[in-house]
Symmetry: C2
Subunit: 198 residues, 2 copies
């Protein structure tokens, strides 16, 4: 059996091509996607129902390295483990983030993570309203941190406008290879301490 010379169109191949376009340009359109895959737009519609389904395939890719910990032990440790893995997984695709937040979450894998967070927070004693607020806080901090993880090693330039206090702060980061990781762990601890004293 020889290999087919042209890869067969599939949801996975469509999602990979869409991800390449988002990485390179910040977005994708159906005609661009069809051109990249060397097929007609109507062939794409044989495999996906449209833009929203492609967005969900991209969300699944962004979530693919999220690991859910065993839901045992203190709630704070379970939440921290989910947040670390969520940030790591999304930091691979920073330009995808505003596309994903612009569409309602529908993919099974994403819903699974939000279920785990909601269950853990409910069991910890938070009401349904605070559970939604905390999930939103987790999302905002993790997605912002994923963008920071993809930022340049020195995210602030050396402008003559930088004042002495900012210069002193920036100096402490310039020496750290793991600046973004260090700041994420600090922020995670601040946030969990703030939640623990609700």
């Amino acid at each position: 059996m020889g290999r087919p010379r042209v890869a067969i169109l599939s949801g996975d191949r469509i999602a990979s091509a869409a991800m390449d376009l988002v990485d390179a340009t910040g977005g994708f359109t159906i005609p661009e996607l069809a051109r990249r895959l060397k097929v007609s737009p109507s062939s794409l519609y044989n495999h996906v129902s449209g833009r929203e389904q492609i967005i969900e395939l991209l969300r699944e890719k962004a979530m693919s390295e999220v690991e859910l910990p065993e839901p045992t032990g203190p709630w704070i440790d379970v939440v921290a483990a989910i947040m670390r893995s969520y940030r790591r997984s999304y930091a691979r695709y920073p330009r995808l983030i505003p596309l994903l937040t612009a569409y309602p979450v529908a993919s099974e894998q994403a819903t699974g993570m939000y279920n785990a967070l909601a269950r853990t927070l409910t069991e910890a004693g938070f009401g349904a309203d605070d559970t939604l607020r905390i999930i939103t806080l987790i999302d905002s901090f993790v997605l912002g941190s994923a963008l920071d993880a993809a930022a340049p090693a020195t995210p602030w330039g050396t402008s003559p406008d930088v004042g002495p206090e900012l210069a002193a702060a920036l100096d402490t980061g310039a020496a750290k290879a793991d600046r973004a990781e260090d700041a994420f762990e600090f922020g995670l601890a601040v946030l969990l301490r703030g939640l623990n004293t609700l």
Copy 2:
């Protein structure tokens, strides 16, 4: 004096066209920008030095509604006021966010805000290393919250995978017209409480 029939090329017109492209497609290239402005790429280079300067012009637009409060009163109130205004200003341009975080900050207005944060935190007694970490936490939370402010009214779809705890949490948000604002104020309070007990 008649009005010129063709608007004169300027940094501001270039930035507006770049912003329209980012809003529509997630990014911009110099050739796309030239086409949109109906000029040659080389005419663009008479006004801007290149892509990085255009990014800084976009950063200035995103920051244009950031208001710095009087640096008097408790540090926590100064930081909260900056964060509220920073989020509001950026929520107007969600798709711009990953472009801005991918380039080092150079614009005067952005540096002015970071100077105000660094001065406030230093005067509150935080060391230079924690000042950088707190500024990074503020950035991550504010940019993530700006993305959430631009999200659909119901950011989670109704999938059969949604478990009972998540469903109960989502129900509390469905009724709130100000879901994103409410979650931001909650997160801001959690974060400041966590910082206040450092």
